[in-house]
């Protein structure tokens, strides 16, 4: 039974960016290698202040691009250092090949992504196209919806990543601008070493050490490559349990936990909204009026996107009549283009569950989603459900002709 440190919390007004910087400090990170990009920049600026003041003893590598940011992070993690980086959109794309390499080398790097729209045209505003674009890279992906959750999830991320059943890098995403730059009250630890028993420093992954020289990043011919990829498949499967355990343990020690899919009012509902990130807050408030009028509306928030919790979403689907999925990214070239909608549909199919899944695309390039929009989407979904309409194509909500 691990000893539980009594944590004293202080309540600070923090943006999600600053909350993440705080979490990096409280995780006793050893190396930060990052490159500025809107809307992530203030994460690294705040971390630099912590280092300059001696509050965080870490090496900051002012790399000359995001590609080098992930490269340096890989190097640092490969010698056993607890490593962090942060980026968004174009930066995430620039380091794309290295995302596969980081997970292929089984390094427990943690990265925060302020979800932002991908160019072209250039957009510095938020949506989830960047995060969705890297879903094949074998990075565990947690999507936070509040600054508090971002803070807690970064700390949980190190526990998840460094677990020997996993040894995979973890990405914590949140809304660019809507969350990165807006302030919320966040409970952070008074002392930086509060989590040292929750995430002890004990690098057990393969590292470069002259005492035990190994070769990392070899070339694998067709006779060998497949098995290494399958190892990642297995690690991803294990990750579902490890994420849950890390969250449960966090809840036990620090009295805050989030689960894999946050749900509310699903049982017996006609329509359940499913979304992720900060939009969930808007959703909750928007349906209050509808619920007051007696509408049976369920809410579900996907917190863990990779590995995708197929079983849990299937359980949720069984308790409701239809799912309305609000996606903030488009996967081009398919008629149902909401990435999470697609995952849900295939999850239900695998379980043999027949349910209507209505895919709506919203908030692209930070096109504002208002209460009116949510209510109108709800009315539309009700119509579709009543007429037993089987959706053939995602609805691009609010696009002007």
């Amino acid at each position: 039974m691990e000893s539980v440190l009594k944590v004293t919390w202080k309540r600070l007004p923090l943006s999600t960016n600053f909350a993440i910087a705080q979490a990096v400090k409280d995780s006793d990170v050893d190396v930060v290698s990052a490159y500025p990009i809107t809307p992530q920049t203030t994460v690294v600026e705040r971390i630099s202040e912590f280092i300059a003041n001696g509050e965080l003893k870490a090496e900051m590598i002012h790399v000359e691009s995001e590609h080098s940011a992930m490269s340096a992070a890989i190097g640092a993690s490969a010698v056993g250092a607890r490593t962090f980086t942060a980026t968004a959109a174009q930066g995430l794309e620039l380091m794309h090949e290295l995302l596969h390499i980081a997970s292929g080398l089984r390094l427990p790097i943690v990265m925060s992504v302020a979800a932002r729209a991908l160019s072209a045209p250039l957009s510095i505003w938020g949506d989830y196209s960047d995060v969705m674009n890297v879903r094949d890279t074998s990075w565990i992906t947690i999507i936070a919806s509040t600054a508090q959750e971002a803070y807690d999830s970064i700390i949980q991320a190190y526990r998840i990543a460094e677990d020997p059943r996993v040894f995979l890098p973890v990405l914590v995403a949140y809304d660019g601008y809507a969350m990165s730059h807006t302030y919320e009250p966040v409970y952070v630890s008074e002392k930086s070493d509060a989590f040292k028993d929750y995430i002890p420093k004990n690098p057990r992954w393969y590292t470069l050490n002259p005492e035990k020289p190994i070769t990392m990043g070899a070339m694998a011919s067709p006779e060998w490559f497949y098995e290494f990829k399958y190892q990642q498949v297995v690690a991803m499967k294990n990750a579902l349990d490890v994420v849950k355990e890390a969250d449960d343990e966090y809840g036990k020690r620090y009295e805050r936990k989030y689960g894999i899919i946050e749900e509310e009012g699903v049982e017996g509902s006609d329509i359940t909204f499913v979304t992720y990130g900060g939009l969930y807050g808007t959703l909750k408030e928007s349906i209050e009026e509808l619920r007051k009028k007696g509408e049976q509306i369920g809410l579900a928030r996907i917190r863990l996107f990779r590995p995708f919790p197929s079983e849990i979403i299937a359980d949720i689907a069984e308790k409701t009549k239809a799912l309305v999925v609000l996606d903030r990214a488009i996967t081009f070239g398919v008629s149902i283009s909401g990435p999470v909608a697609r995952e849900i549909i295939s999850s239900l199919y695998a379980r043999g569950i027949e349910r209507n899944v209505y895919s709506f695309i919203v908030g692209i390039g930070q096109r504002t989603v208002t209460e009116k929009d949510i209510i109108a989407i709800y009315e539309k979904a009700k119509e579709m459900l009543a007429s037993h309409e089987r959706q053939k194509e995602s609805i691009y909500w609010g696009v002007r002709e």
């Binding site: 340096a72 010698v79 056993g80 020289p213 070899a218 011919s221």
Partner: protein, 317 residues
């Protein structure tokens, strides 16, 4: 005033091998010679970061490795960035007592001309600017050899490569070889040198110096390639020496801003001796060769003036 060199004769070379045979480098690949000697200088307390390329692919086909020191390959263009990460991490871990602060661990970034002149240039420049204590060793075989001899920024003018072939209109590479060591020296790092395996003691002294300085160092090594340059495998070292004897490759160093030539050539040879052994230059006309000879003569003058005395002598044969 150069300090007394550490390596003077073969008997100064350590016996212990840190490169194991059984790798897939071509027969006669001078990169094997260079890496073997590099590791002898560096010793066991060394981490090698290697770019994608001939050396990486030939020495680490799973499940075999020829490396007896810790070694990592990440990608093609980021050797310097990965090395920066390792250097910073070791610093951080030592500061936190997770690694013995007294332990000296050499960090060597090893990449070819492909991964340095072109795609790797940004990461290299960044590493130099940040001042990481890493020795970057560039093994220059003057083309993208691992993918089948395509031209790189390090390919010399006129050289045949598969992407600068000799045809009716274009005959070999049009552009000149990028002066990479000079560009690195312009970053004002503590130690920059050029070396070649034909002068093993000079090369090994430079590796040693590079590992000792407090800050980034760069050693640019000419690596004759039997397959890409098209010469009989036995001539690798002979060609390396000819490169210096013809002054096409001058072995110099810059230590804290002080420039010196470390291998004097009192009696210089005509460049034709270097070209006639290599298939990649077999299309050179006498005019081409004379043009190149004149360029070399000018460069020799410039170097002699820079140093302040005749370190590279007149043309003799």
């Amino acid at each position: 005033m150069m300090a007394k060199p550490y390596f003077r004769t073969v008997y100064d070379v350590p016996r212990e091998e840190y490169l194991a045979p059984g790798h897939g480098l071509c027969a006669g690949c001078t990169a094997g010679t260079i890496v073997k000697l590099l590791l002898k200088v560096a010793g066991p307390n060394t981490i090698v970061v290697n770019a994608t390329g001939c050396v990486e692919v030939s020495t680490t086909p799973f499940p075999y490795t020829s490396w007896k020191v810790p070694w990592i390959h990440v990608a093609f263009e980021n050797t310097a960035a990965v090395a920066s990460g390792i250097e910073s991490a070791l610093k951080a871990l030592k500061a936190k007592g997770m690694i013995d602060p007294a332990k000296r661990i050499n960090i060597i970034a090893l990449a070819g001309d492909g991964g340095t002149y072109d795609i790797g240039f940004q990461a290299l420049s960044g590493m130099l600017e940040r001042g990481h204590k890493v020795m970057y060793v560039l093994y220059d075989n003057e083309a993208y050899m691992n993918t089948g001899i395509q031209r790189s920024g390090g390919t010399p003018e006129y050289a045949w490569t598969t992407t600068t072939p000799v045809g009716k209109i274009l005959k070999g590479k049009v552009q000149q070889k990028k002066p990479i060591a000079e560009i690195v020296a312009a970053h004002r790092i503590p130690y920059v040198a050029t070396a070649n395996p034909g002068y093993f003691a000079d090369m090994m002294n430079k590796f040693k110096k590079g590992l000792e300085v407090e800050g980034p160092s760069f050693v640019h090594v000419l690596q004759p390639c039997t397959t890409g340059w098209k010469f009989d495998p036995r001539y690798g070292i002979v060609l390396a020496r000819l490169a210096t004897e013809t002054a096409l490759w001058i072995n110099w160093q810059q230590e804290e801003g002080q420039f010196s030539v470390t291998v004097n050539v009192p009696r210089r040879k005509h460049v034709k001796h270097y070209f006639e052994l290599q298939g990649r230059f077999s299309h050179l006309t006498e005019e081409d060769i004379e043009k190149i000879q004149k360029e070399v003569d000018l460069e020799v003058d410039r170097i002699n003036k820079l140093v302040g005395r005749t370190v590279i002598g007149p043309l003799v044969e």
